[in-house]
């Protein structure tokens, strides 16, 4: 089965979807490891879990697991559940049956970012200026960083974690056998988002000054891309690492990283203007598709080969806050600041 945007059905009707209303903004969404369950992190402390099959009956809302806002949510790389972080300073492992186990409690700190590494089963969380690593039942602490960690990501092989902060980024080696000092890549200003490229060669950040900054990890050289009207808080590398998608433009915006890289070249731009400013962008986990959510509520699916795009959801005034692809790449989870929990099925 494949997604074919040339199919006229895309132009005529919206794809099948399930939309449920929660009464708190959605901060994050994710699928679990096998793609059977989708979950949404809510502003009332709930992690709302739903079957990924949009035709299956949706269970009732579960009681809140965090005492404030659930700020971060990822699929558990070691099980069938999820891992969540909240502004109550806790990191929770939520099993498939909904039971929660506390992995970390940092009173007074917010758990704003969580990332996972699929093959090593590691989870990394930021809590204030510190990065915490959870792996094989063990918790390790890295930091403090010069300021609150505003973004983090694993390297391709899971051996390192990069953290964004004021003044640049810090790359930690996670090896317990060889204690390597952290590497600091400096660039003035505050870095507010971070994504390590899927081939491990580049680390990209969004900055407070509405720029993108990218480092070549091996050479420690860097580049800067400007021209955004807002901070770029969503970055997404394609599965083949040939492109870096960035939010905060009216259309899909992809910087080419194959060959000599993006220096001196304009980004590839495609898609329909008029939907507002893109708030979240998520490259497909395998193919050359990309999903983009807008501040107007519109959701688009793009294909970089044909530069074609289709609308998956109409604008409704509620800004899209999160997007997640199912592992098989046929479903898309979408959340917004009004509390709509949307799951789109792209098979048609």
């Amino acid at each position: 089965m494949k997604i074919d945007l040339a199919n006229p059905a895309w132009q005529q009707t919206l794809p099948p979807a399930r939309s449920l209303a929660a009464d708190a903004p959605v901060a994050a969404c994710a699928f679990n490891r096998d793609g059977s369950t989708v979950a949404f992190a809510l502003g009332d402390g709930q992690v709302r879990r739903l079957p990924a099959d949009i035709a299956a009956p949706a269970p009732d809302a579960a009681p809140p697991v965090h005492s404030g806002v659930v700020l971060a949510l990822v699929g558990d790389p070691t099980g069938d559940g999820f891992v969540s972080g909240g502004d109550d300073g806790r990191v929770l492992r939520i099993a498939a049956d909904g039971s929660a186990t506390e992995l970390l409690a940092q009173k007074g700190k917010w758990i704003e970012h969580l990332v996972t590494h699929r093959t090593t089963g590691a989870v990394a969380a930021s809590a204030g200026k510190t990065m915490f690593l959870f792996r094989d039942g063990e918790v390790r602490e890295f930091g403090p960083h010069p300021s609150t960690v505003a973004g983090l990501d694993f390297s391709k092989d899971g051996s390192r974690v990069a953290c964004a902060h004021y003044g640049g980024i810090t790359v930690w080696s996670l090896s317990k056998d060889v204690a390597l000092p952290p590497r600091r890549f400096a660039w003035q200003g505050s870095h507010v988002a971070l994504r390590w490229s899927t081939d491990g060669k580049f680390i990209a950040t969004g900055t407070q000054e509405n720029d993108i900054h990218v480092w070549r990890v091996a050479q420690a050289t860097d580049m800067r891309m400007q021209g955004y009207p807002a901070k770029v808080k969503s970055l997404s590398w394609t599965a083949d690492a040939r492109f870096l998608y960035t939010s905060s433009q009216p259309v899909f915006t992809a910087w080419p990283f194959s060959g000599k890289g993006p220096e001196g070249k304009p980004p590839l731009q495609f898609g329909d203007e008029g939907a507002g400013l893109m708030t979240v962008v998520a490259a497909h986990p395998a193919a050359e598709f990309v999903a983009g959510g807008y501040d107007s509520g519109e959701l688009q699916l793009g294909d970089i080969r044909t530069k074609r795009s289709v609308v998956l959801k109409m604008a409704d005034g509620a800004s899209i806050t999160c997007l997640a692809w199912s592992p098989d790449g046929f479903k898309l989870a979408v959340g917004n600041d009004r509390g709509d929990l949307l799951t789109v099925d792209l098979r048609r």
Binding site: A24, G43, Q188, S190, Q208, E209, R338
Partner: protein
């Protein structure tokens, strides 16, 4: 969805001036409103409230070549996080540390688009310990800056000084900032309406808020002292000339000008032109229309250090028709 912007009140003042007492009152009193409070010392507040957020003041320089352009990075993150809550609130209070310069907090609301979209800076409230103010002025520039930035001043602990001492403190405060509203308080006792939801940064309410705004005048001070002054003109303003002059002035003197605001009678324009600035940052808009027969006069206010009143007056006069 256009949601109303949440008003943010910035609470400054030296250590021990009475900020925590005031915050405790706001959090514990029955006033039917809900406030989120961003504090810098967790646990200092006696009230257990899930709307109290701990912040490490993270002052970030913007990497844009402007040296005085600093923002509070922690505030940008926290405001974004607060907006994800299910329960909305009527306002946000930001407590700064005793030695904080209010500049970065204020500039955050001029600079960051996400913060601007969801919140608005309402007023800067400074709590002053009447007994220790003169001593604090000598310890560094912070106490002076906190007064200079203020829209509202709580002259607190008035019970600990004589009437004579109090008058001297108030004189000194007026010397720095003639435009702030001063309340005498003991144990930070004040009606919350006096300090919350004031609209001091609301361009449409500039006239309403400033008690002294329509009286101009020059006081004589030492050059390096922080003071406030105003300039008026009855002839219409040439907008291009004004923009050029003000742009250059803020470029050169922005670090010394803490706050500036103005109402301009632009040549040929039916409405007032109003602006408000913090250091080099500025917001402006068209205000209310001039009435028939009303005297169309312009007025600028500056609060800052090393202000040369005569020079500013001459510069402004060159912008007139």
């Amino acid at each position: 969805m256009a949601q109303p912007q949440v008003p943010v009140t910035v609470l400054t003042g030296y250590l021990g001036a009475g900020k925590t007492t005031l915050l405790n009152r706001i959090l514990s009193e029955q006033h039917g409103k809900k406030y989120a409070v961003i504090v810098n010392e967790f646990g200092e507040l006696g009230v257990d409230n899930d709307l109290v957020v701990n912040a490490d003041e993270e002052v970030f320089e913007m990497n844009n070549g402007c040296i005085c352009c600093t923002v509070r990075g922690d505030l940008i993150r926290i405001i974004e996080g607060l907006m994800k809550r299910k329960d909305k609130f009527d306002g946000i209070l930001v407590e700064t540390t005793g030695l904080a310069d209010p500049g970065p907090v204020a500039q955050t609301f001029f600079t960051d688009e996400d913060v601007k979209a969801k919140t608005r800076l309402d007023a800067i409230v400074t709590v002053i310990d009447a007994k220790h103010f003169f001593g604090q002025l000598e310890q560094g520039s912070e106490a002076e800056q906190q007064v200079a930035f203020a829209d509202v001043i709580l002259l607190n602990k008035t019970d600990l000084v004589s009437a004579d001492e109090l008058a001297k403190v108030e004189d000194r405060i007026r010397g720095i900032n003639r435009y702030a509203r001063i309340f005498h308080t003991q144990k930070s006792q004040i009606e919350l309406e006096a300090i919350l939801d004031k609209g001091a940064f609301d361009l449409g309410r500039i006239l309403e808020f400033e008690p002294d705004f329509l009286h101009s005048g020059h006081d004589h001070h030492h050059e390096d002292e922080v003071r406030s002054l105003s300039i008026t003109a009855d002839r219409p303003v040439d907008p291009d000339k004004f923009q050029k002059w003000m742009g250059a002035l803020l470029q050169i003197k922005g670090a010394d000008i803490f706050r500036s605001k103005g109402i301009l009678a632009i040549d040929g324009a039916p409405r007032r032109y109003v602006y408000q600035g913090v250091h080099m940052m500025m917001d402006s808009a068209w205000g209310t229309p001039w009435k028939d027969g009303e005297t169309r006069s312009s007025k600028l206010v500056f609060i800052g250090r090393n202000l040369d009143g005569d020079n500013l007056q001459r510069g402004f006069e060159d912008c007139l028709k």
